[in-house]
Symmetry: C2
Subunit: 370 residues, 2 copies
């Protein structure tokens, strides 16, 4: 199943403030086990890519490089690229692409976020194999998730005509990337066959870097110069000199959207059980139901030791991380997150606003808690 010349990139950034107090600045979402699998999200991501890729390269902040290496002992030492400071996804992914292109001339790269879940790994592998085949033909290839509901939390991909590429029978042209819609528009998108944009894409390294050069020449120049120094004694000097000058821009804006407008992007549609676990409510479908209900909303979902939780007539999501007994009585769609130094009580409907709690804690100077 391993695709010759295919190298995976795993950008590992973002604190996941909507998952506070479980996630912290020192313990970001990708380092957490959010599925009761015993593996963190980044461990699952790398393990999912290993069977199809010749190598996996992680790009993360210097603050988290040590923890990433500790969680991924099988990764070669040079496979973790540490950014001195966050400069958004274009710099991170294109630097990794340029480094890989040097190490493995002719490489096809694929970028896959470190903090997403994919429940159907065989389907994911089939999609990657198709995406690599289409990428070899010069396409920038995204993987488009089959929506299972009209989500307003994700951007969508508008599919166009069938592509005719050997080995990628389901690939189609991307007419456009569209922003997170309102509920009505989302329903229309779903009925029109749009796909969720999960930010996963595959391309030849030279194609991606060419697209960057066309759209962001200064960023392209900086990234290439950095990559040339990366595996030499000059890395530290080059990082110090060049990194702060790189434009902070998302790869969607810097590359994917202009490329789509130019008819250079394809999508491989896939039903792979994908989720980005954007908040505590989204944890629910990832966890076993302890107290089964007729539907998801009437069930109680527990992340942690189920023996730590006693629930009477209650539903929602409980995260048990302190070893204390958590008892619930007559609370529905509740979210309770219990950690050693902080506890959060909210509802599944308000789970997106947990970032406001973090903002308020920062404002109050409780930096030790965030």
């Amino acid at each position: 199943m391993r695709q010759r010349g295919f190298h995976a990139i795993v950008p590992a950034g973002g604190a996941g403030t909507r998952l506070w107090p479980l996630s912290r600045s020192g313990q970001p979402k990708f380092l957490l086990d959010l599925t009761s699998s015993g593996r963190s999200l980044i461990q699952q991501t790398v393990e999912r890519l290993t069977p199809v890729a010749e190598s996996v390269t992680v790009v993360t902040g210097v603050a988290h490089a040590e923890a990433v290496i500790a969680q991924l002992p099988g990764l070669p030492a040079d496979a973790v690229l540490a950014e001195p400071s966050p400069r958004d996804s274009a710099a991170a992914i294109c630097l990794a692409t340029a480094v890989i292109a040097q190490r493995h001339p002719g490489a096809v790269i694929g970028s896959f976020a470190a903090d997403h879940v994919i429940r159907d790994v065989p389907a994911f592998h089939r999609a990657v194999v198709e995406a690599v085949a289409a990428a070899r033909e010069g396409e920038l290839v995204t993987i488009g998730i089959a929506p299972d509901h009209p989500s307003t939390a994700f951007g969508y991909i508008k599919p166009g005509e069938q592509l005719k590429v050997d080995g990628a029978p389901s690939a189609v042209r991307v007419d456009a990337f569209v922003e997170k819609p309102d509920a009505e528009t989302a329903a229309q998108y779903v009925s029109d066959g749009y796909r969720w944009n999960a930010g996963m894409f595959v391309a030849r390294a030279d194609v991606l870097l060419d697209l960057l050069a066309q759209n962001r020449p200064a960023l392209h120049k900086g990234v290439l110069e950095l990559a040339q120094a990366w595996d030499t004694a000059d890395r530290a000097e080059a990082l110090e000199r060049l990194w702060p000058t790189l434009e902070k821009v998302a790869i969607d804006y810097a590359v994917a959207e202009p490329a789509a407008a130019a008819g250079r992007v394809a999508v491989v549609p896939a039903g792979i059980g994908w989720d980005d676990i954007g908040d505590f409510s989204a944890l629910a479908p990832q966890l076993p139901d302890v107290q089964a209900g007729d539907e998801d909303r009437s069930a109680l979902h527990i992340l942690g030791d189920v023996d730590d939780v006693l629930a009477l007539d209650s539903s929602g999501v409980v995260v048990a991380r302190s070893g204390r007994k958590i008892t619930l009585l007559g609370v529905d769609d509740i979210v309770v997150v219990d950690t050693a130094d902080a506890i959060l009580v909210t509802t599944r409907d308000r789970a997106q606003e947990v970032k406001d709690v973090v903002a308020e804690l920062r404002k109050q100077g409780s930096t030790d808690l965030v």
Copy 2:
């Protein structure tokens, strides 16, 4: 203000399982500070009685005698009567009455639960003074609380004709004690001028013991024999021999109700800001509003360090006892109780059912937590 010959009894029993996990079998409700006053309920009770009574005697279980003595260093050593096991209120109060009658011939006693709150202490003192005056005339005198809402959680006192006793101008005959009513009946009771039965009563020791002798001769005999041995070297032997034989019965059934039926009971009506803090919802009016609302239900009430709580768009009752940060987001009428080893999340409407959580924990063998 001290009433000559008046001696107070403070029965300190009952775990208060509706206040779990704050109250535990080893840390019952009466030992807790539930009003952010810095004083436990039993300390407040004794301090409230000291200005009007010649002595205060506490009756409590052996398991709690040490903690009671530690909280009440001003009490003489012989003022705490320790019961080997709980035998309900008639045995406890009548034993204390008989011991006081021996120590202070001609005493008038008054019994006041250790775990109630009274916000208007001067009004309470005025009521006690009237009750003592009526008691000297041979009445069993209850203090009847002016209801501020048609509660279904308390028994009621049906008032009858005016009593004509010097020093007790507001005392009236009690026609009957009635059980906790349903909501409709409660509303009728309130409009008919009924009073809440707070279980507070005052009587001459000889009158109370005579009423016990008439209604429960065996219990009377046992209590008297025990009292005779109490201040002698025979106490331990008498306790071991007699205590287990005493009938387990509430003083309401053993004395107050039959006495009312015989026209022997009076009531002094009083508005004293009384509450028995029967559950966490009842804590709310006892605590300062941190986040003021138009009415009680829209406010957030905190027992503990207010700096430990961050609430956004939330109302209810929070008990902060672990030192951890408790954050609430978008939860209304919530109850969150955070202790070192257990946490409770429920609603004010369900607060009465917290006893079911304790029952379930016992059933599951979590005896260390209850």
